[in-house]
Point group: C2
Chain length 117, copies 2
């Protein structure tokens, strides 16, 4: 079953299986120079990659962020990881913005949705 | 590789494969009676279930929430979905708190971590 949510904060979801990259991060204290601009740029750039489906993101006031991006297959994830501007952003993340993060690559086997109509 | 993050906002992660339940929700506007207490209760209750590994959660000011819980296998996820108090909470979520949500069940194939030391 395909899910096409009307609320754009939820990602479109094709018939499973498809892939998810779960990126959970803890920000450093202090100013995060350039973070917002880079985050915006990466969202735009990811959307241009082949195999991109969509993403969902939430950032807590305590510095925890979770971004899940969805992809058609492993190959598109590997290509995105190696994309030049994205690699620069990943490096800046480690050097400046993040105290710690975990990235998990997962295959979505099933999904279900609720929408209050 | 097992990941044992020192920051407790990140979940412990065993050697893959393991399972992830990605729950992305959009809250209703207005008061969310009982939501915080139920959310706390569910975190505590999940931790008592067999096969539970850990969870990560972030809630945006715009009402988007992402909670990812990690489980050893499919069977433990199915059992948790059917747990009585959890079913009551799911129903309250649909009736009172959430405008929309998507739940995705995924198998984590690989993961990597960064920690600034």
């Amino acid at each position: 079953m395909t899910i096409s949510p009307s609320d754009k904060r939820l990602s479109h979801a094709p018939e499973p299986p498809y892939m998810a990259v779960i990126f959970t991060s803890i920000q450093n204290d202090g100013p995060l120079d350039g973070y917002s601009q880079t985050a915006e740029d990466m969202v735009r750039l990811a959307a241009e990659q082949s195999g991109y489906i969509g993403y969902e993101s939430a950032h807590d006031r305590d510095g925890t962020g979770i971004t899940v991006s969805y992809w058609e297959n492993e190959a598109s994830i590997k290509k995105w990881k190696q994309q030049a501007d994205h690699m620069t952003a990943q490096k800046a993340g480690r050097n400046k913005w993040y105290r710690a993060y975990i990235t998990r690559i997962a295959r979505v086997d099933r999904h279900y949705a609720f929408e209050n109509t």
